[in-house]
Symmetry: C2
Subunit: 380 residues, 2 copies
């Protein structure tokens, strides 16, 4: 049975104060829910999304065959997070470009498109906004909050900002903060966007253009870091797109044409992304990644920082993930154990790099399934 997902929107007219000191006067959040909230209201699972994903977590949109949610292999009827048992909620984050209020929307103050004036939002701000939406849905306590990558950071932050509202946190392929190298990759991507002449200081909407060149480069860089060297070698290796002869390796001898399959693949990913992602959103979300660092308020002591968390945890990492390496998940595990928290940790031997958190891997999906089988909550 296909799960049909229906996006909904909720408008908030009270201003939202942000970590930066700024605020958003009014805003809307787009979200989807799957399954049913039980009478006890204790079977809700919030799914937090990563950089380029959205509220559309599971199922398909009516009449659109190829519109599977980004975690459709994980969430749905009979799936590891079983929507027959759980009431699952996906929320598009503030500043995103898939429905919730973001840089491409009018700023109510001057009445113009926000563009680069959209305020900088943090993981903590997103969690606060998510909490307000849950209030409105009548969900006061989450049976679980779950996310991968940047979504995992939000799940972790929930356990620190609203410890009493979370019973379980599932943090996949994540980290307690970005390393200098992670920030460096984000910065190059941002520079590619900002230095595109079509960016116009972030107010490109007024000029009827989009900084596609910059977005393409940003996406290509990101994409490389999502994959492992091994999986790239397996999928593409040094294969040529079109060998022109038997001689001299079959090369075309061109610096600008596509020569290798990996080049063709990356260009395609860049082109696709530049057509539907907003440049200001890319800047905002990579900055939220850079800024997240719950230990910083505790002099860098992660154990102290996580002392507030009181839920149970499942952490998962992937051996070939060099963006959020297993060592980063182990830092979290160690800090939680030092706080005597109940922690399960699975380090999955998977070849796919960071992208593994989105892919089908029997052991990975099995670990999550087992965990959720032990989690309380039942359909009404």
């Amino acid at each position: 049975m296909t799960l049909i997902a229906t996006p909904q929107s909720m408008h908030f007219s009270a201003p939202l104060g942000l970590q930066s000191g700024a605020s958003i006067r009014e805003y809307a959040l787009t979200y989807e829910t799957y399954g049913r909230l039980n009478a006890a209201r204790d079977n809700a699972v919030l799914i937090c999304h990563a950089l380029n994903a959205s509220h559309h977590v599971a199922g398909v949109h009516a009449g659109q065959d190829r519109s599977e949610g980004w975690w459709d292999n994980m969430i749905g009827p009979g799936k590891p997070v079983d929507t027959e048992r759980f009431f699952v909620i996906g929320i598009n984050n503030l500043g995103s470009c898939f429905g919730s209020t973001g840089p491409m929307h009018p700023n109510p103050d001057p009445g113009q498109i926000y563009g680069a004036d959209f305020p900088v939002v943090t993981v903590e701000d997103w969690v606060n906004a998510q909490a307000l939406l849950l209030d409105a849905l009548g969900v006061h306590r989450l049976e679980a909050v779950m996310g991968g990558s940047l979504g995992g950071m939000q799940a972790l932050s929930w356990t620190l900002q609203y410890p009493e509202r979370v019973r379980h946190a599932v943090v996949v392929a994540s980290a307690p903060n970005l390393s200098a190298e992670n920030i460096a990759f984000n910065e190059v991507a941002r520079r590619a966007i900002v230095s595109d002449p079509d960016f116009h200081g972030g107010h490109f909407y007024r000029h009827g253009v989009v900084p596609r060149r910059g977005l393409r480069i940003a996406r290509m860089i990101g994409h490389i870091t999502y994959l492992s060297d091994d999986v790239m070698n397996q999928k593409f290796g040094r294969e040529l797109r079109q060998a022109v002869s038997e001689n001299a390796g079959g090369y075309r001898f061109s610096t600008q044409d596509v020569e290798f399959q990996i080049e063709s693949y990356l260009r395609h990913q860049g082109d696709k992304f530049s057509e539907d992602f907003d440049a200001n959103t890319y800047l905002l979300i990579t900055r939220a990644l850079d800024y997240f660092d719950p230990a910083s308020a505790f002099g860098g002591d992660l154990t102290l920082a996580l002392a507030r968390a009181c839920c149970k945890f499942l952490l998962v990492s992937f051996t070939t993930d060099w963006r959020f390496a297993p060592a980063r998940s182990r830092e979290l595990v160690k800090a939680l154990l030092e706080n005597r928290r109940d922690v399960s940790y699975a380090e999955i031997d998977a070849p796919h790099g960071h992208d593994a958190f989105l892919l089908d891997d029997a052991r990975y999906l099995g670990v999550v399934r087992s965990y959720f089988e032990r989690v309380g909550g039942s359909a009404s």
Copy 2:
């Protein structure tokens, strides 16, 4: 005693046939030599340069205090490659932008600047041109050929193209070919340059502009891959450039301003590079890297490919080099040993990533020194 280096230039009026089938009608090579060729002409050492280096390997240019050669810690009087004993030669590769004929020079055929019409050159082409220069210098046999990274590929290629002319090859931080991930990083850098509106299809010289935006991005990407995650964390970590308050991590909350030290460092590297590197050269040199693959003519069998080499080898790799990882050097060692060649191999435990091959590391410099002490050759 300071070694004073003097760049020289040699003009070649016979066309050079290239691997692509094209040829360069006439050209000049810029080079430097250090020490003296002995009477037996058997103490010459050729140093091959990598992506953004040049013929200026050692010493300083007269009257320019801060003009040390890029391998000045390795080469000079009393240094691991001792110019009191060896006659050392550095040659700027064809297509580069530091003196030898390249894209910014006039194409003798139409009489205009080459620009994007400069022919694609390969590692093998460079080695052929280097051999012609050595002929002209009266050096028929090299006591050693040496290089790091792309320079190591040239050293390796010397042993295959001119096996009888090489007694020792020193191949540092190199690989038998690029992996898909390496090619991917090169491709993103190239796309950043080519999609800069100031690139003008490679003929920007005619327009009086330089694709600086693209060059900056290309350099930033490259720079990240030259360093290790560890050394970036040590040098920069999550340190802020200028904390604005004690609150909220001291962040300025900006997506476009520099927030972290690593951002400031990368921007500085990008700016500097974009001022003195040629965009077409960047395309050509990264393509030469992509193309190098001596095993391809042997069905991918590296052992067969290296059977022609008959010199002795020293290979060096660095544990934290993820661009040319130790595993890639070990592939070379294995293939050479299968051919029963005399191979020394040192895997240096160094934190600096790929850049380690240029840096002071007592064990690394010691290994090279010891190797050259065993190598023949004496000053005249």
